[in-house]
């Protein structure tokens, strides 16, 4: 994308007025998407975006500028602006020398989406629409979306780093509305991988559409969700969102450093039930939160955060790690070249326990079974978090019974971690997600086996 010589000259401009660190992050992104709604292919979209973000650090201050102009003039202007923003107060001039050490990782994409005809992508949408509608006349609306994106990044910095990555992601989702005597209900299903069009070797879009339709149909007979504290069993895959909110964000070192996390100062302490081992792993090939290098050029890594219930580490980006005199954990990510990197999760998951998932349900007298979750939110400073249930049922006398309507569950992270009393042996990754923090969205994955929390507050309206 950029020659090493041009990178050197730009970094030299960034460092000219004296800086501790300078970095260029260049990005070229191509994407295509197609949307079907209301029985029609409404739009087929292509986009491209390229540019560079330049970061200059002086003391505690980061200056940042970005530009879509990748010529020497454009880059120099951005480098000058970033340096000025970092408010230099004099200092030695440094010449930066990066050398091209780029070792491209083996491309794992088998079928590059750009090689697939648009008509083939559109055909997936119409197939999903037909399959969803074939489940019955109560399905009154269907929408489906196909999207792919290729993101090539280059990271070079004043420490001599010069590296790059090529990230391809493909996503498919389908949403249905079912209408009955009780009004309308919705059902959604999605699949996404850090991979090319071979995604559809693993996922049958018609099958996905039928599942989404069934989910909406099931909810037509749903009762209002209960209100109050009770045992909650979360099915395989879904529970990842729970951990993402209950403790994932709280283990991000930028929040920890500002004492804006309930997990600050708790390294080495027991923070969860002994059966809980939590891992964040950007190296899981193909998973939605996978990459070769993070957006600061650090290779993705597998980081154990909680081991046997004991807090072993936080997640780190470059700035926070540098202050602590340690290495980044490869969790420095940004939405695009227009954003500063910060600490973000990748694929966050709980390892298998040894319980039979059927026994976990059978052993629950009364509670709620959550089969599909729909995102969540956390206040890391208090630990309070919510997550939504988009498919859930009552558990009565050890059996999964009536479907219940949608709503949030609320809990407190440190409390919920210690209230996990059963982990199944049926680990699965959940649906692809977009994690939002400080206005930036990045793709993340998560996973869990079936698990039970002894008490969580279900936010319904029924007594």
């Amino acid at each position: 994308m950029l020659e090493a010589e041009l990178v050197n000259r730009t970094l030299s401009v960034a460092m000219r007025t004296g800086a501790d660190f300078a970095e260029i992050f260049a990005e070229e992104r191509r994407s295509s998407s197609a949307i079907l709604d209301d029985g029609r292919v409404e739009e087929v979209v292509s986009g491209r975006d390229r540019g560079a973000g330049i970061r200059v650090v002086v003391g505690e201050t980061t200056g940042f500028a970005h530009t879509a102009d990748l010529t020497e003039t454009g880059l120099a202007a951005a480098a000058g602006a970033a340096a000025a923003a970092a408010r230099q107060s004099g200092g030695a001039r440094r010449i930066v020398e990066v050398s091209s050490l780029d070792v491209p990782r083996p491309l794992t994409v088998r079928v590059p989406p750009e090689d697939v005809p648009k008509s083939t992508k559109v055909a997936l949408l119409t197939a999903a629409d037909a399959a969803a509608r074939s489940t019955g006349s109560a399905i009154t609306q269907v929408s489906a979306r196909y999207g792919d994106g290729r993101r090539r990044i280059l990271v070079a910095d004043s420490d001599g780093l010069f590296t790059s990555d090529d990230q391809v992601r493909t996503l498919f989702s389908v949403s249905c509305v079912a209408t009955g005597d009780t009004g309308m209900q919705t059902g959604r299903e999605s699949a996404g991988r850090t991979a090319g069009f071979e995604l559809f070797d693993l996922y049958d879009v018609e099958e996905m559409a039928r599942r989404a339709a069934q989910r909406a149909l099931t909810k037509l007979t749903a009762r209002p969700a209960p209100s109050g504290e009770m045992p909650v069993v979360v099915g395989p895959g879904g529970g990842g969102v729970l951990f993402h909110e209950a403790c994932g964000h709280g283990l991000e070192a930028d929040l920890v450093a500002k004492s804006a996390s309930v997990f600050a100062g708790r390294l080495g302490e027991r923070v969860a039930a002994p059966m809980v081992t939590l891992i964040d792993d950007g190296t899981m090939a193909g998973e939605w939160g996978h990459y070769g290098i993070d957006d600061e050029g650090k290779p993705a890594a597998r980081n154990v955060l909680i081991s046997g219930g004991v807090l072993t580490d936080y997640m780190w980006d470059r700035l926070r790690a540098r202050k602590e005199g340690r290495a980044s954990s490869g969790n420095g990510r940004r939405q695009s070249y227009q954003h500063l990197p910060m600490v973000r999760m990748t694929n966050t998951y709980i390892t298998n326990g040894d319980a039979d998932p059927d026994d976990i349900v059978a052993d629950t007298t009364h509670g709620v079974y959550v089969a599909q979750l729909g995102g969540g939110q956390v206040n890391t400073a208090t630990g309070d978090f919510v997550f939504g249930m988009t498919e859930a049922y009552l558990i009565e006398n050890g059996e999964i019974t009536a479907p219940i309507r949608e709503g949030n569950l609320i809990g407190n992270g440190p409390e919920v971690l210690t209230r996990i009393d059963a982990l199944g042996n049926d680990f699965a990754m959940g649906s692809p997600g977009t994690c939002g923090k400080d206005g930036q969205g990045v793709p993340v994955g998560d996973g869990t086996p079936t698990l039970r929390v002894t008490a969580l507050t279900v936010g319904g309206t029924a007594a």
Partner: protein, 448 residues
């Protein structure tokens, strides 16, 4: 600048040919963001961004493409790509670009040269002052998670091959503080902000003291037993609720069978005290704009009057399909997206009493200061509504102990009908809705 953006948009719109129409949207934005932390500048971002989105409608088939650069070659390729994409869309007899409808845009002046000329060091000073004020507001404020100044100078142009040619130019800025308050083992958080069209309208004092007040009054908060009660929504919470209500009133949701209110026109959908208007021509609205995302004039749209449903929101496509006129309600997230239908600037007609006066009349309630999980526990199609909440209990007409880790739940339909009173304290917030205190009866609070 706006004129050169319009030149590009009109040039692209002029490439329309036999049997196909073209719309081009061109935008340019200059932004500054300063974050203060512990008396230093934590980060300072200075950036400009620009781009073009091209929509082609070819014999009822729509294609779209965008690019984040405006050089001649890229613009041409973007147009070619949009034209090619249109081959793969379904035929829709109502698809098309906007044409002039005879409604003149209001002469809104939303651009302030004071912002464009405001020196960077003064922006830095504002962010540092915000952090200082927040920390000084109360000894229990032990930290400021973020203290931020941000501004934007935004210009855009849209042109269509049917004769639309419109430009917009606006400035905006805000201060936002997130505070941490600590007492014994308990930590609570609060936010405060101040918005304006130029920095002279900002108040670090207001933002900082609000952030401190919101955090400190929650100190000692505990989970509460489940019960049904009256909730009093703080203005900020009401504004977020209005955003959801606005989505249910989009003509697109109505036409596609996804609106709760599709068959309810001219019926009572809310309490008689509820009057909801969408009005982007109100210059006080943070999201005011004289034109919509398709270049048509925005206008004042009464959606619900005295509880009775009066109108839905329409852009060009949904209006054609519904056999009505566009209400100037096209919105877009930027040049990277096609226009859709949405509210620009929602507000409730305020009542006559302050929040304190409303609270004084409630025997058993919850003053809701913050909500979470609006994206995960609210379904705008089914109407199910369940969100995390924190705030203060109301007992015997006074605010009492702080409450956290509870949810409040009902349905969107019920919430509107159960509105007990709208407060007098209308304020525009940095979002597409105004805040106002809103009391709603018979809501389920779930806790222990």
């Amino acid at each position: 600048m706006s004129s050169s953006l319009l030149e590009i948009a009109q040039r692209v719109a002029g490439w329309a040919g036999d049997g196909f129409d073209v719309e081009a949207f061109v935008a340019h934005e200059r932004e500054t963001e300063v974050r203060a932390y512990e008396g230093e500048v934590e980060s300072l971002t200075a950036a400009t961004a620009q781009g073009i989105g091209v929509r082609v409608v070819h014999q009822g088939r729509q294609g779209f493409a965008y690019a984040a650069t405006l050089d001649d070659e890229t613009v041409r390729e973007t147009f070619d790509e949009a034209l090619d994409n249109s081959r793969f869309g379904s035929i829709d007899e109502f698809a098309g670009v906007a044409e002039p409808d005879g409604v003149e845009p209001e002469p809104l002046d939303l651009y302030r040269s004071e912002l464009a000329e405001f020196p960077t060091e003064d922006k830095v000073a504002l962010a540092l002052e915000l952090e200082r004020v927040t920390l000084a507001a109360d000894p229990r404020v032990t930290g400021v998670e973020s203290a931020e100044y941000a501004d934007s100078v935004f210009e855009s142009a849209v042109a269509t091959s049917r004769g639309v040619a419109a430009t917009a130019r606006e400035t905006g800025c805000y201060l936002a503080a997130f505070s941490l308050a600590t007492e014994r083992d308990d930590t609570q958080t609060g936010f405060g902000f101040s918005v304006g069209r130029h920095p002279g309208e900002l108040s670090a004092e207001t933002a900082g003291t609000d952030a401190a007040e919101r955090a400190t009054r929650l100190l000692g908060a505990a989970k509460a037993p489940s019960r049904r009660l009256t909730v009093v929504l703080d203005p900020y919470v009401t504004a977020r609720l209005l955003g959801i209500v606005g989505a249910t009133l989009s003509g697109e949701a109505v036409l596609k069978g996804r609106s709760l209110f599709a068959d309810r026109m001219n019926e009572a959908v809310g309490a008689p005290s509820l009057t909801l208007v969408d009005d982007a021509t109100d210059p006080d609205a943070f999201t005011a704009s004289a034109i919509d995302a398709e270049g048509l004039a925005t206008r004042r749209i009464p959606l619900i009057t005295d509880g009775v449903l009066q109108s839905f929101l329409y852009d060009t496509y949904t209006a054609r399909r519904a056999g009505v006129s566009s209400t100037g309600s096209a919105v877009r997230g930027g040049f990277k997206g096609t226009p859709g239908v949405g509210a620009h600037a929602l507000s409730l007609t305020p009542g006559t009493r302050s929040q304190d006066e409303i609270v004084a009349g409630i025997d058993d309630g919850l003053l809701v200061q913050g909500v979470t999980g609006l994206h995960s526990g609210v379904n705008a199609v089914s109407g199910d509504f369940s969100v995390g909440a924190e705030g203060l209990r109301i007992r015997g007409g006074e605010t009492a102990e702080p409450v956290r880790e509870v949810t409040i739940a009902s349905t969107i339909q019920r919430l509107l009908l159960d509105v007990a009173e709208v407060g007098s304290d209308l304020e525009w917030l940095p979002m597409s809705a105004a805040g106002v205190t809103l009391a709603i009866a018979d809501v389920t609070m779930s806790g222990t």
